[in-house]
Amino acid sequence: MNNNKKVIILIVSVTVIHLLLSLFSTNFIADFPSFKNVNLISEITVKKKPEPLKKIVKIARPIPVDSLTFTNFEDYKKKGTILAFNADSLQPSLKNLSEKLRLLSQNKKVKIRIAWFGDSQIEGDFITEDLRKLLQNYFGQQKTVGFVPIQSVSAEFRHSAKITALGYLKADNFKRMDGNSSLFFSGYSFFTDDLTVDFKDNSNQGATERSEKWLLYGKGDSIAVKINDSIIKYPANSDFNRILLGNGTSNRAKFQVISNRTPLYGISAEPASGIVLDNFSFRGITGVELKKINASLLAKLNETGYYDLIVFQYGVNLMFKPNDTNYDYYYRAMKPVLKKFKNNMPDTEFLILSSSDRAFKYENEWKTAIGLDSLVYTQARLAHDNNMPFYNFYQSIGGEGTIVKWADSTTQLANKDYVHFNFRGSKKVANIIFKAIINDYQKAHKKTVVKKPTVKAVKKEIAI
């Protein structure tokens, strides 16, 4: 028997029922909201314009300062500029950094050290590796990697340095720690009864310049380090200690270490003078976790003048729900953290980067998170109220829709999770941040700056 009629009956029946359901969907859409995805007439009906998002922002806005060149709070929306609120916009926002960069540009022997905090966006030295190279190139400085933790989840794919640690290793971190463990900026501290460490700085292979390789550790009883068959025991009385492992032209450091009750942090490869940019990535955090870093460690670092600038780059992990628009809780949680840093490190400058773009699927289309503006506002307010400079990272990379565009473009710049930049995107982002830092630096030194390679030339070099 020929069943071709059955095909027609089936198709016509299902189409008619489907069409009728679509026509009368208003009667049941409340009980079955997902029907809108298969509504046959949704594409051809006149749509009501969606109501604009009402931001729930409870934190009060600061009163504007009445001056032409002074930066008002509302300027936080500006892209490409590092802002110091209520300050002269013609002056650099990062004054001390700017001054030290000037000395460096005049071939003075100074060391500038920057701590760059972030989440998985900078894991594997993404963004910071390129930014470090850009800054070191621009000021004609030696290329070194800076801080590398003894162990990290991203060690395998980090190109800028390689570290292998063989032996027993107990780790405390932001998420899991015993008692009052002394965590470093990396969010980790390590203990070992015998560890063989092989470290290699890949940031400038084949270089003939000397670089210092330091082992960093915290407060405990003591540590024993074995280099070239000689074992030396070092005290660990201070909250922050370091041992020079080597000072030669080699980019490697091999040693054995025993540190049962003293927290080990990592290795820092750096020049005697120049620019050091330390990557402190910790997956999945928002910055609030930094409260677990002891105040005494911050004070000690301040005392030794270890860091010139500390940068906080967080935000994407705060947007874990697509419809969140209120980040007051973040303001309340992050404010004491920033205060703690500021109070204990009065000689250090700080910079808050806003969140970057991230997207969610709304009505089957990936779009920038609806709460992003509100989060950036909250972060700007944190910067303002703690008297820290602010950089609108979100607007600087392109603002709304950027991450979707970058993830969906033929030459992908971001991953399909619509959060993370890939290596190409990271390079691009590093260039954008670099430009902002140089613009800020040049505000004060346009006249005195010795001729250096242009931003464009440095970018070209890094692209190669």
Partner: protein
Amino acid sequence: MINVDWNSVLHQFLYDPKNPLLFNSGFFVYFFFFFIICYYFFRRNFVARAIVLTLFSLYFFYKASGFFVGLVIVSAVIDYGLSILIYKKRNKTIKKALLILCIVFNLTLLFYFKYTNFFIELVNSFGTVKFNPIHILLPIGISFYTFENLSYAIDVYRGEIKPEKSIVNYLLFLSFFPKLVMGPIVRAKDFIPQLKQEYYVSQLDFSKGFYLIISGLIKKLIISDYITLNLVDYIFDGPNLHNGFECLIALYGYAVVIYCDFSGYSDVAIGISKWLGITIPPNFLSPYQSVSISEFWRRWHISLSSWLRDYLYIPLGGNKKGKFRTNLNLFLTMLIGGFWHGASWNFIIWGSVHGLGLIVNKFWTKFFGKIKLMPKCMSNIIYGLITFHFVCFCWIFFKASSLDIALTFINQIAFNFSFEGAGAFVSNYKFPIIMIVIGLIMHLLPDRWSTIFIRRQRRFPIVYHIAVLLLFIALYSYFKSAESVLPIYLQF
């Protein structure tokens, strides 16, 4: 009261690059509704029926790929004309020259659209001269209809078939909408004769078509899309953010995704064809049940592997020119097959590794094939697992967006394997993981079960079919709006 936006109505009939026509587009429901009525109406007039099918197919092509529809028409006209000339000419040299002309024409089109930028990058990598990449869009289905054109002209040249007299039938052979976007690759000698037969759908054809369409849509739109969006893409985009265990789960996930996506589309195409009275041979036969890599290629994308065998491997000499040449032919066939899938080194590596796998498989069978070390069921499980994992290994190159990503992915599994955070990972991705398990279980069910079910389904009333199709629409609507599973590294 429904307020119709007539501008949108008109817009629906035009090609929209952002929303190309697919089986799951809302527009396809209208398209198929009107098409099936017209097709049924002209069922007794073969010429009119073929014209209806061709016009709807070309319109489908237009809605899916815009004015590239012109390319398929031009291609059909030229191949149609050349094939007639090849058939008519008595002089062998002229026949051969015409065949070469036909091959060159088809491959030039394919190379221009698919491989130009790959070769520009290759030349640029040598660094002597630099060319800017050209902005070229890839016409939908060009890889498939190029192979269909070639097989047709070669069959005519070999005297295996007579050229088709009706250009409409030939155009329909190339543009037949169910298989247009993702195959299967059909052969003219199988397809065109069916256009001259009565529109007949047996009870079994109807049941089989229904089963294939529903199961194909579930595989493609529910299982494959869900796992891709909620697990596989996250991990393949940034394997460095995940440990070996997580990468391995993503790899198993991708094995299910690629199978469900590809075979799901083929099943829908074959099922719709069944309902139109046209039989297209199966394209996938539970390939992960294979116990050797050569068996895998007899079960995976059969229309492509048989095409490569008949029009590449055998013309290269097949297994008739000694052991070395046989292995070389095998390797080259797989390498070219890999390159056919896409213009990148990853596809070349994917094809090459499969080629090497086939060679090793041949040696293994030769030396150890007759030795029985364990019971057959046991050896089948072990060889099946080895084959599956080899295929999975190759999928890394197939899926990764660059060689760098592929190598990182392998590195994570090989040297960074850890169960740390496995609990949190499984808990976060429980739904995609459940989908992977469902996909694998469905795949491992014996084929005869579906055959038995299809036979039983023949007797079910039409109401059952209507209810199942409506249920599928409801299920699809749910999964289309299911809240995305967020990447785990944002949450712990």
